[in-house]
Amino acid sequence: MTQEYSAGRYYPGELLREDRMPHIWCPGCGMGSILHGFLNGLHQSGLPLDKVAIVSGIGCAGRVAGYVKLDSFHTTHGRAIPFATGLKLANPELKVIVFSGDGDLVSIGGNHFIHAARRNMDLTVILVNNFTYGMTGGQFGPTTPLDARTATSRYGSYEPTFNVPNLAEASGAVYIARWTALHLRQMEQSFTEALHKKGFSLVEVISPCPTLYGRMNRQPRGLDQMKYYQQNSIIQHGADTRTVGIELNGKITVGKFIDIERPAYTDIKTRVYEKAFAPKPAAPAKTTAEASSK
């Protein structure tokens, strides 16, 4: 593959399945921008592309796997993380990236999400959070802010939400960043860092869903939601993840929240196995005194 440049700048055409464009995402959806940012971040990481695999679940964000010209897997709803776990452990040379949505990763796949973080499985998870189930028509999910109206919360959502960075930190993730679809340069940087981080790294990207979530919550165009992000995002690196929950029409704290060191799953496993399989020291030779005493 040849690298493409646009007026002196890298352009990720080599990483995109151009034969599948235009993609299925709605006008004003943030997915395309986030994908562009991701591909740039992947390029900057310098990882060998033959050894990068992408696994997606189901939903709008789940379609990413089909647009990226890498070994890519579009799996079942919520199951991208265990599939990726198998892929990674069976071939540790691979850099395995999970690209999926909020409903996929923290609702139906929530159990896998927390357990992969607990194990500190060497995966990079990109969670696109649009606060709703987009592909099925805009129902509320575990990230839908209280009072937000959706196809199944006509009078306003009354379920408390997951604060995704906090959930990931509590479960054991070693790298957690959050940006909105507007923070393209910062996002790129975070993707690159996350890809180089050994262990469970998470980048949450808040994305507009104008067709469903936005339309029902007075932000009917992707542009409206992007302007909202512009006016309400507060960059706060190292923020306490307990404080970064998202409320309807509230401020959105973004930045790199967590970047710590903790042994990854395979490191600990290797240590245990090495100890168990270490050759036993040879028994000391018997002294003549011992031998003669028998």
Partner: protein
């Protein structure tokens, strides 16, 4: 701890342990599972053995994750297996379908216990046979093998991996609690005597590779992740490029091929054990532990001078339709003992199409048949 790369010789082990050893002999180097009675011993054995042979054992958070992990591992080019029992088998069903759709070689062992629900965790059942055939949604064909002894647990584990690679499909080993837990002599041949099928690799360079262009036998060669093919695969209905295609035509082409690659190769896949069928007037048709008791009943019936025969289904799915059809033209009745209220009996009845009668000898689970119940059914069939 001493490192045992491969075992060979005679061992007195349980069916579960034999199954794990068979998988290892077949080259299985990835096991993902979740503890569940009566399949737990397979996971336990694997947790001990995989590190010894440079493989991976991972205990996932549930059976859904276990099934997905083996699919992922298989796409990385490693032979992978999971083992479970009824409740876990139910949880695996959705992603068994993913395995079928992505055409992923892997092996899933179900050591059946009595259900439904939690049922009798420590006691035998054979109630998942139809679930094995139809458990995931949508229409597909599947391969399921039924061992009747620890020795066969060992051998069929190897066979299951071969079939899964040859036909690029998940293969089920439908054992039962009795076979899983019984200890018998198991002979493991030396490694050089064990022949296994390698994965069918693409014959074209990466830029020309399309993941779902089948060979003449309807099975496409398979590239692994990390080999530079940059392929895309999806659980959506897809074309030969692996790209989603939401049309009835694409569905027709894909599903026909997925079904036909198993059904049209039945002769190669199906294994049967036949005894005294030449002159048989009544045939006991069974599988797993029920077949062992069935065979004992047939021997007794022969001693009484009854022309009874035994047809043991080593392969339950695809169902040996042709053989049952042939036999139905010359025998009076099929006796089908199974530890459920009639599952494989339905298939026998379908294939005999009224030419021979089908007599179910059911057992609700929690134990095995008393031989006399089968002998009485044989006698009754000839009255």
């Amino acid at each position: 701890m001493s490192s045992r790369k491969s075992l060979s010789g005679d061992f007195f082990i349980t069916g579960d342990v034999a199954c794990a050893e068979g998988a290892i002999s077949a080259g299985c180097r990835f096991f993902a599972g979740y503890p569940i009675t009566p399949a737990t011993e397979i996971a336990e054995r694997m947790s001990e053995r995989q590190p010894e042979i440079g493989g991976t054992y991972i205990q996932m958070e549930d059976e859904i994750a276990s099934m997905n992990a083996i699919l992922g591992a298989s796409w990385a080019g490693v032979k992978a297996m999971t083992a479970t029992s009824g409740p876990g088998f139910s949880l695996m069903m959705e992603n068994l379908g993913l395995g079928v759709m992505l055409e992923t070689p892997c092996v899933l062992v179900n050591v059946q216990r009595a259900g439904p629900s939690t049922g009798l965790p420590t006691l035998a059942g054979q109630g998942d046979m139809m679930q094995a055939r139809w458990g995931s949604h949508g229409h597909y064909s599947i391969i399921a093998l039924c061992p009747d002894s620890p020795q066969e647990m060992y051998q069929l584990a190897i066979k299951a991996f071969d079939l899964s690679e040859k036909y690029r499909t998940p293969v089920l080993i439908m054992a039962d609690e009795v076979v899983g837990h019984m200890s018998e002599k198991v002979t493991i041949p030396p490694p050089e005597e064990i022949k296994t099928l390698p994965r069918r690799k693409p014959a074209v360079p990466p830029e020309k590779y399309l993941p779902y262009v089948p060979d003449a036998d309807l099975v496409p060669p398979m590239a692994n992740a990390g080999e530079g093919y940059h392929f895309h695969v999806t659980g959506l209905t897809h074309d030969e490029r692996g790209y989603p295609l939401m049309t009835a035509e694409a569905q027709d082409k894909l599903i026909r091929r997925l079904v036909n690659k198993i059904d049209k190769n039945q002769d190669d896949i199906i294994m049967l054990k036949e005894d005294w069928l030449d002159d048989a007037e009544v045939v006991v048709c069974s599988y797993g532990i029920s077949a062992r008791i069935g065979k004992f009943a047939v021997e007794r019936a022969r001693a009484e001078g009854i022309k009874a025969g035994m047809l043991r289904l080593i392969t339950a799915w695809p169902f040996p339709e042709n053989r049952i059809r042939q036999l139905s033209k010359k025998v009076k009745a099929f006796i089908v003992p199974e530890i459920n209220c009639g599952q494989i009996a339905l298939e026998v009845e379908r294939c005999s199409s009224g030419r021979a009668s089908t007599i179910l000898v059911p057992h609700m689970g929690g134990g095995v048949h008393q031989p006399h119940t089968i002998i009485e059914a044989i006698r009754k069939a000839l009255k």
